[in-house]
C-alpha cells in the first residue's frame, strides 16, 4: 500500500482523510476513469450519490458509439462463443478488431454447433488492413469512410441498389449465411455506422440468422454499463447534483466539465491501466490507482492512493470479453492491503452531511 498527499508519502488513513476533506469542500465533484472492478464502481456510485458528484468513464467514446443507437434503434447481438461455434460467415468491419484475439480464434475454427456445423467458415472483411496473415475475402472501404460503406452495403443487401459492384457480391455472401456474424469495434465504426450496421443485420434477419458482435472496450466500460443500469436505471454518464441520478452524455463529460471550469474536484479511479488525462492536474484531484502501476506516484494527483489491482493483487468482478459477461477474478498474487472499494467506502464514512459544502 502506498499513498501520497501533495507529493509527500503518507499512510492510508491520512490519505483517505485528505481525500474526504478535498471532496467535502467541493461543489461539483467529478468521478472519472472508472476503470476498475464492479465493487469499486459500486462504491464510486454510492459516494457520488452522497456528495452529488457526476461520473464518467474513460471508455465513454466506445460506449457512446453504441448506447445512443441502442436506445434509438435497438440491436441484434450474439456472443463470442456463439460466433466461434456457429458462424459460417463472419464479416469483420474496419481494422480495430484485427488487433483482438477473437479474429484469429474465429479464423482458426469452423462451425461446430447448429445447422452450419461441418461446413467451412467464410471470413470477410470490409476496410481491413492488408496484413495477409489471416485468409479472408477483403472488400475495400469507400471514400466516405466506414459508415458510408456500410450504408451502401445495406442498400445492396436490401435491394435498393443493384449491379455488379463489389458490395453486391458481399451482400450476396451475407444473405447466403446460415448463421452470420458481423464483428466490429464501435468507436471505430462510429455512432452512425453502428446504427447502419444494426439496420443491415435486422434486414438480413428477414431471411436468415445474422447477428452483430461488437468488441468490448478495454476499460471495463461494459461492466460500468451493467452497474449503472441496475443502480440508476440508466446508462452512464450520470450526475447526482440534484439528488437524483440524471443521465446526460454531454453535461457529464468529465473532460468538458473540467475544461469549462464547472468541476472543482476530480476523483480519478483507475485500478486497471487507463490513460491519465492531462487535465487531471488542473483541479484538486484524488487518484485511486493500481499498486505498482505507472500512475502510483506522488505527482499523479493531490491525493494518491495505490490499491490492489483486480485479478492481480485483489479479487474483483470484471468484464470478461471472451464470455461477454461479468466474471470474478481472484487475486493471482499476494493481496494488497486495500481495495478501491474499501478506500471509497472509507472516504464516504468520513463524509457526513455537515461536512459537505452548503448549496
Amino acid at each position: 500500500m502506498a499513498a501520497w498527499v501533495k507529493g509527500g508519502a503518507t499512510d492510508a488513513d491520512a490519505a483517505i482523510k485528505a481525500a474526504a476533506d478535498l471532496l467535502a469542500g467541493a461543489r461539483t465533484p467529478v468521478f472519472a476513469g472508472l476503470n476498475a472492478d464492479v465493487a469499486a464502481l459500486r462504491a464510486a456510485y454510492g459516494l457520488a450519490g452522497v456528495i452529488g458528484a457526476s461520473l464518467d468513464s474513460v471508455a465513454a467514446p466506445a460506449l457512446y458509439a453504441e448506447l445512443g443507437v441502442l436506445s434509438r434503434a435497438g440491436a441484434m447481438l450474439t456472443t463470442a462463443a456463439e460466433a466461434v461455434g456457429r458462424a459460417d460467415v463472419v464479416l469483420v468491419i474496419g481494422s480495430a478488431p484485427w488487433d483482438r484475439p477473437i479474429v484469429a480464434e474465429i479464423a482458426a475454427a469452423a462451425p461446430r454447433r447448429g445447422r452450419a456445423a461441418g461446413s467451412e467458415r467464410t471470413l470477410l472483411s470490409l476496410g481491413s488492413p492488408s496484413n495477409g496473415a489471416t485468409r479472408h475475402v477483403s472488400y475495400p472501404v469507400e471514400d466516405g469512410g466506414l459508415a458510408v460503406s456500410i450504408a451502401h452495403l445495406r442498400a445492396f443487401a436490401k435491394g435498393n441498389l443493384s449491379g455488379e459492384a463489389a458490395y453486391a457480391d458481399l451482400a450476396r455472401r451475407l444473405a447466403a449465411a446460415r448463421f452470420g456474424v458481423v464483428l466490429y469495434e464501435p468507436a471505430e465504426v462510429g455512432e452512425l455506422g453502428v446504427e447502419m450496421l444494426q439496420g443491415l443485420v435486422k434486414d438480413l434477419n428477414e431471411t436468415t440468422r445474422f447477428f452483430a458482435l461488437p468488441i468490448a472496450d478495454p476499460f471495463q466500460g461494459r461492466a460500468l454499463v451493467q452497474l449503472s443500469a441496475w443502480t440508476t436505471g440508466q446508462a452512464p454518464r450520470t450526475g447526482f447534483g440534484r439528488s437524483l441520478p440524471e443521465h446526460d452524455p454531454w453535461r457529464f463529460d468529465s473532460e468538458r466539465q473540467v475544461r469549462a471550469g464547472e468541476a472543482d474536484a476530480v476523483v480519478w479511479l483507475a485500478t486497471l491501466p487507463a490513460p491519465r488525462p492531462d487535465w487531471l492536474g488542473s483541479v484538486p484531484s484524488v487518484a485511486i490507482v493500481g499498486e505498482g502501476g505507472t500512475d502510483a506516484t506522488g505527482d499523479a494527483a493531490e491525493v494518491v492512493i495505490a490499491v490492489g489491482v483486480p485479478g492481480e493483487s485483489a479479487g474483483g468482478t470484471l468484464w470478461d470479453e471472451r464470455r461477454g459477461t461479468l466474471g470474478y477474478r481472484a487475486a493471482a498474487g499476494q493481496p494488497a492491503a486495500l481495495t478501491a472499494a474499501a478506500v471509497l467506502d472509507a472516504i464516504r464514512a468520513h463524509l457526513t452531511v455537515k461536512d459537505l459544502a452548503a448549496c
Binding site: 464492479v38 450519490g49 440468422r209 436505471g233 439528488s243 437524483l244 441520478p245 466474471g327 470474478y328
Partner: protein, 547 residues
C-alpha cells in the same frame, strides 16, 4: 425484542384465521402469544394483518432487464430523492424495485430467468435490491451441453447431475425452461415450435427436453417445481400448447408461467388464421381442476407503455414488428436467446382489453387460489406496481364492471368476465399473493403467520378502496424489523438471496469444466458466483432440498 401487533384483522388462510386478533414477533420470527409484556406494541385496530407478499415471477434482474433500461430509459420517471437511499427514486433501478415491492407489503421476490452463463451478473444485481429476500431460477433447456447429452441418450442420472451442477454453480433457487429447445431452433432458422416439433440438429422436441428436466428437478428434490414457459406464447391457439404441456407432465409437479398469455383460443376454429382469439380461461380453469399437480401465475395485463423482456427469442423475434416504439433488442445468447421489445397496451384497444379481461377471468374462475399466483410477469404484462388495482378488481365486482364499461366491447363478446359475480375475499387474496407463492417456492418459513414463521408481516388499513389499501401498507416488517411506515420506507436494510443448497457430482464437474474450456476458453470457475464478489458478507441464505 418482543413485539405485539394488536387488534388487527389477522388473515392467514393456512391457519384458517380471518378474525380480529394479535400477532406476536420476537427475534425475527412469529411466536406464540406471550405472557410477557411486549417491548413494543403496534395498534392495528381497523387494519388487516397478513404475511409479507411473495413474488414468484418478476423480471427484476439480469442482462435483459439491463438491456430494457438501455433501450427504453424513459419508461420510468426518476424523482428527487428525499433523505435515505440515494437510488431508490431512480425509476426502474434495483433500489426502486425493492422500495416499491416493500411499500406494497411484499418481502420476497424471485427473478425467473437467470441464464447460468450470466449468473454472477444477475446475482450481483439481485443483491442490490434492498428490503426483500430475493432468488433466481436457472434457465435450462437450450444449452448445447444439455441437448447433446439428451441426444446421446446418456440417461436420467446424467441430466440430473448437469441440472444440479447448474443450480449449484449459479446459486439458483429453482429451475425454469423457456420454450425448451426454442432458442436453439431459432438459431437454426426455425420460427415456430410446438411441443413435439423436432429441434434441428439435436433430433429432440420440447416435450423430450421438458420431461427430462421435470424428472431431474424431482430427482434433485428442488422444492419449487419446474417452472415452465410453454411454446407458442401469445398466439391464437396457445391454449392448446398450454393444455398439451400440462398433460405432458403426466402428474409430475409443474408450474406454468404467465398463463394469461396462453389463454387464447382461436376465434374461428374452422380457419385459425383469421379472426384472432377469444378467451380460453374456462378451458384453462377446467384443465387445472383435472391436474392438481399444476400451478400457474397469471401474467395479468395492465394498460400503458411497457417493455417486454423474455428469453423466448422465438416469441420476441415474432413480436418485434409489433414493437411500440419501433425499436427492439434481440440477443442470440450462449444458450438461451433474449429479446427486449417495447409494447403499448392500448387502454381501449380490442386486443389489450381482451388480454386484461382474460387475466382477471382466469383468477376469478380459479377453484384454488393457492395454485393461482398473482403476477403481471413484470414488466411484460405491466409493472408489478399494478397489483393493488388488480386486487381491487378481484375484490369488487362494481369496480370491475366500471372498468369493463370503459374498455372495448370485445370483452363482452369474447370473454366471460362480465358475467362473473365472484368477489375475492381477503383470505383468497392472501392465498393468491402469500401462501400460494410461498408454498410454490417451497419456502415453508414465509407466506403465513403461524408460529415459527419468518416475521415478514404487512399491516394494511382496511379500506373499501382496495387500490389505496394495498398500494401503501401502513406497516411492513421484514424479519421483525419495521421497514415501511405509511407507505414510505423508513429503514434501508438488505435481505438475502435464497439459494438452493445442492451437491454437485464431481464427475459431472470435471466433464463440464472440460466442455466449458473448449467452448468458452474458461472453465467452471469463471461461471462461479463466489461470496467474495459481493459487498455484503451474508448475501446468500441456503434453502434445503426436499428430503
Amino acid at each position: 425484542m418482543l413485539t405485539l401487533i394488536r387488534g388487527g384483522r389477522v388473515v392467514d388462510p393456512t391457519a384458517g384465521r380471518d378474525a380480529v386478533g394479535d400477532v406476536w414477533i420476537e427475534d425475527g420470527r412469529i411466536v406464540a402469544p406471550s405472557q410477557r409484556a411486549p417491548d413494543s406494541t403496534v395498534d392495528a385496530t381497523g387494519c388487516v394483518v397478513m404475511a409479507g407478499g411473495v413474488e414468484v415471477h418478476s423480471h427484476i434482474a439480469g442482462g435483459n432487464v439491463n438491456m430494457s433500461r438501455l433501450l427504453l430509459p424513459d419508461l420510468y420517471a426518476s424523482e428527487a430523492a428525499p433523505e435515505g437511499h440515494p437510488f431508490a427514486h431512480a425509476g426502474g433501478s434495483a433500489a426502486w424495485i425493492g422500495a416499491n415491492y416493500a411499500r406494497m407489503g411484499y418481502t420476497t421476490a424471485v427473478e425467473p430467468a437467470m441464464p447460468p452463463a450470466n449468473a454472477l451478473s444477475t446475482q450481483l444485481e439481485l443483491a442490490d435490491i434492498p428490503l426483500l429476500d430475493r432468488g433466481a431460477l436457472a434457465v435450462l433447456g437450450n444449452d448445447d451441453q444439455l441437448l447433446e447429452l439428451l441426444r446421446q441418450r446418456e440417461g436420467a442420472n446424467a441430466v440430473r447431475d448437469l441440472v444440479a451442477l447448474n443450480v449449484a454453480t449459479s446459486r439458483a433457487l429453482g429451475v425454469k425452461c423457456i420454450n425448451a429447445g426454442g432458442a436453439s431452433a431459432f438459431k437454426d432458422g426455425v420460427l415456430k415450435l410446438s411441443l413435439d416439433d423436432e429441434i434441428p440438429v439435436y433430433g429432440l422436441s420440447t416435450r423430450k427436453i421438458m420431461t427430462a428436466l421435470l424428472d431431474a428437478v424431482e430427482e434433485i428434490g428442488v422444492p419449487h417445481p419446474l417452472h415452465v414457459h410453454c411454446n407458442n406464447l401469445g398466439i391464437p391457439g396457445a391454449d392448446d400448447s398450454f393444455v398439451a404441456t400440462m398433460e405432458a407432465a403426466e402428474g409430475r409437479r409443474i408450474h406454468f408461467a404467465h398463463a394469461q398469455f396462453y389463454a387464447y383460443a382461436v376465434s374461428d376454429p374452422s380457419d385459425p388464421s383469421v379472426g384472432g382469439f377469444r378467451s380460453a380461461a374456462a378451458r384453462i380453469a377446467e384443465a387445472m381442476e383435472k391436474h392438481p399437480n399444476a400451478t400457474y401465475d397469471v401474467g395479468q395485463v395492465a394498460f400503458g407503455q411497457t417493455v417486454t423482456i423474455s428469453l423466448d427469442i422465438l416469441r420476441q423475434f415474432a413480436g418485434r414488428k409489433g414493437a411500440n416504439p419501433k425499436k427492439w433488442i434481440l440477443t442470440a445468447g450462449d444458450a438461451e436467446g433474449g429479446g427486449v421489445v417495447p409494447f403499448l397496451y392500448k387502454p381501449r384497444g380490442a386486443v389489450s382489453s381482451l388480454q386484461w379481461a382474460i387475466g382477471l377471468e382466469l383468477m376469478l374462475l380459479s377453484g384454488d387460489p393457492e395454485r393461482t399466483i398473482l403476477t403481471t410477469d413484470h414488466p411484460n404484462g405491466g409493472p408489478f406496481t399494478e397489483y393493488p388495482r388488480i386486487i381491487h378488481w378481484l375484490m369488487d365486482k362494481e369496480a370491475r364492471d366500471r372498468e369493463i364499461a370503459s374498455l372495448h366491447a370485445v370483452i363482452g363478446e369474447r370473454s366471460g368476465l362480465g358475467a362473473i359475480e365472484r368477489e375475492y375475499t381477503l383470505s383468497e387474496i392472501a392465498q393468491l399473493t402469500r401462501s400460494g407463492p410461498a408454498k410454490l417456492l417451497g419456502l415453508t418459513d414465509r407466506g403465513h403467520l403461524r408460529e415459527g414463521a419468518r416475521a415478514d408481516v404487512a399491516v394494511y388499513r382496511d379500506d373499501r378502496d382496495r387500490t389505496a389499501m394495498f398500494a401503501r401498507a401502513k406497516l411492513v416488517f421484514k424479519d421483525g424489523q419495521v421497514v415501511v411506515e405509511d407507505g414510505e420506507v423508513v429503514s434501508w436494510r438488505s435481505g438475502h438471496t435464497l439459494a438452493l443448497s445442492v451437491e454437485s457430482d464431481r464427475a459431472m464437474e470435471k466433464r463440464t469444466d472440460a466442455y466449458l474450456v473448449d467452448r468458452f476458453g474458461a472453465g467452471l470457475d469463471s461461471f462461479a458466483v463466489p461470496d467474495e464478489a459481493f459487498s455484503t458478507p451474508d448475501a446468500f441464505e441456503d434453502v434445503a432440498c426436499l428430503a
